[in-house]
């Protein structure tokens, strides 16, 4: 089956800044794919290249098998992009904005088109604002219209560039509910976000970018297994001190000690040491790994425990689940 998105050895420089340095990755059809990285990692540049807004220095990108440069018309028909910036055309109402966007994709004025626009408006809770001017909408409403604009031509691939930045909890939840339903209906979704808990709960596979390079690419579950570690969190009773053997490997944070472990069998020796030293505890809990741990570790380049790849992203990656890390 053709990949929804195929990125091969993509490079782009802006003056002296290397925005993308040979990025390669594949997004399969129907995936909910996360693209993570700190500011300036190259996420938006990669999305812009995908959408034809940025011209590449080298490499190529395909959307549903259509080259974004040579076959840009078909590639763009396959793609719906929700931009990061909250942009809008102040001259038009919500419905006019969506009808115009349909027309840009060559979709003629038909009952089906209007019915689809109504459906999008309904799903994004915009129906009551259909005839309101864009200027009169709140930030959250404008964000919903951006999502609606990206969907008017029913693209099989949807790219959301930080869609929930500055958005309240209620809208965030309703937005994800709608995007999830689109994904269930077969749409491929690519998401960039700084909210890692969102990426963890939504994305089946994740690529992490750092300085224009893919530094991790795997299923979310594998990344959590490989990178993140469990931690035993101990809160000591007043006056108690950690035995020297444990103090060496524990980290103090917010008045509690955290001892990392990979296997649950490592817990018993820790508890035995605590008992032997007479250290009394006020509280004890086992912390589960989260994507934030993974992100921090990957971005710090702590790849020593993991199989470093010689290549970059998809070139070096096997099927999902094999785990790929580049330094």
């Amino acid at each position: 089956m053709t990949s929804a998105i195929c990125v091969r050895q993509v490079a782009k420089r802006f003056g002296s800044v290397e925005a993308l340095a040979g990025v390669s990755l594949d997004v399969e059809q129907g995936e909910f794919f996360g693209l993570l990285g700190p500011n300036g990692a190259g996420k938006t540049t990669l999305i812009s290249a995908l959408a034809g807004l940025v011209r590449l220095d080298s490499g190529h990108i395909e959307v549903m098998g259509c080259d974004v440069v040579a076959d840009y018309r078909n590639a763009r028909r396959q793609l719906g992009v929700v931009p990061q910036e909250l942009v809008f055309d102040p001259f038009f109402s919500v419905r006019e904005t969506l009808r115009i966007q349909c027309g840009y994709f060559g979709i003629r004025q038909t009952r089906e088109r209007d019915a689809w626009i109504d459906e999008i408006l309904e799903n994004l809770d915009l129906a009551s604002k259909a005839n309101a001017n864009m200027r009169s909408l709140s930030g959250g409403m404008k964000r919903r219209v951006l999502v609606a604009q990206a969907l008017v031509h029913k693209p099989p691939v949807i790219v959301l560039d930080e869609p929930t930045a500055g958005v309240d909890v209620e809208l965030r939840q309703s937005l994800w509910q709608f995007i999830r339903s689109l994904n269930r209906d077969g749409h491929t979704v690519v998401l960039t976000t700084h909210y890692l808990e969102e990426a963890e709960s939504l994305c089946t596979r994740i690529a992490m970018l750092k300085a224009g390079r893919v530094v991790a690419l795997d299923t979310t579950a594998n990344l959590l297994r490989s990178f993140a570690v469990h931690a035993l969190r101990l809160k000591l009773a007043p006056g108690a001190t950690l035995p020297p053997l444990l103090a060496g490997r524990a980290q103090e944070k917010e008045g509690a000690w955290s001892i990392a472990f990979d296997q649950y069998t490592e817990i018993e020796p820790v508890l035995a040491e605590l008992r032997a030293s007479g250290c009394s505890l006020e509280d004890l809990e086992i912390g589960k790994p989260d994507l934030e741990d993974v992100f921090v570790r990957v971005m710090r380049g702590k790849e020593g425990r993991f199989p470093a790849s010689s290549g970059n992203g998809a070139d070096a990656a096997g099927p999902p689940g094999t785990g790929t890390v580049a330094g």
Partner: protein, 251 residues
């Protein structure tokens, strides 16, 4: 040409929604020019035999308004959408650079012609006009409007901020249109300035346009046609080249 009809429609709708500012206001401005200049110069200046100064002035004002508004439409639409970021809505869909060019230029031409017709209708009460050869009127209105609309696309794409666009407008477009024989015949100028005027393409647009009304002009309308048509083709090629390369639109 997927997307062209909608982009054209959107551009026309954009200026039509603020019609007081984009159509009515330039008509009033031209009318004020006519009232003041004709009041001061009517009895003192006679350019062509049997043509009053006020009648001479009307086609010049019509064409000047048409040209300035054609430029204003494409340039302001582009700079606004660039500054606000909404340009992305026309860059993401599969709209070709030719469709992009045609839509912006034709919509600008529609605004220019709307203002031109408005000025003509508003000034008809002040001077008896002949329509000696309407074909010339139409040809120079369309070619002249097309040239300024193309210049508007170039300026709108080139300018990164409103200040740069204002510079383009005030230091290039305004002098070219004001010093083109709108208010006078270049034969009334000293020889040096007559020569300078011959390097101004707007002079040929207005002279040829005026020939359509009175059947007389400073230079042959055929000469004007060749110069204006050449300018239109060259500017269209330049604009299309910029759009094809994605100059300042696609990084």
């Amino acid at each position: 040409m997927s997307g062209f009809p909608t982009l054209f429609y959107k551009e026309v709708l954009r200026f039509w929604k603020v019609g007081f500012q984009t159509v009515a206001a330039p008509v009033i401005t031209a009318l004020l020019y006519l009232l003041i200049f004709s009041h001061v110069l009517e009895s003192r200046v006679q350019v062509y035999e049997s043509v009053s100064y006020t009648a001479f002035l009307v086609p010049g004002l019509v064409m000047m308004s048409l040209l300035q508004n054609a430029f204003a439409n494409s340039s302001s639409s582009l700079i606004q959408s660039k500054v606000t970021g909404s340009i992305i809505f026309v860059l993401l869909p599969p709209i070709s650079y030719r469709a992009f060019y045609l839509a912006y230029v034709l919509a600008a031409l529609v605004r220019g012609l709307s203002v031109g017709v408005g000025v003509l209708l508003a000034t008809l009460w002040f001077a008896p006009l002949k329509f000696a050869d309407p074909a010339w009127i139409l040809v120079f209105a369309i070619l002249g409007g097309g040239i300024l609309a193309s210049l508007g696309v170039i300026a709108g794409i080139w300018a990164d901020k409103f200040d740069q666009l204002a510079a383009f407008q005030n230091f290039l477009i305004m002098p070219l249109t004001f010093l083109s024989g709108v208010f006078y015949s270049i034969h009334s100028l000293p020889p040096f300035w007559q020569q300078v005027s011959h390097w101004n393409p707007v002079f040929y647009m207005i002279d040829g346009f005026r020939h359509g009304f009175f059947g007389v002009s400073d230079v042959s309308p055929w000469q004007s046609l060749v110069i204006v048509a050449t300018c239109f083709v060259l500017l269209s090629m330049l604009t299309l080249g910029m759009l094809k390369r994605g100059y300042k639109l696609r990084a």
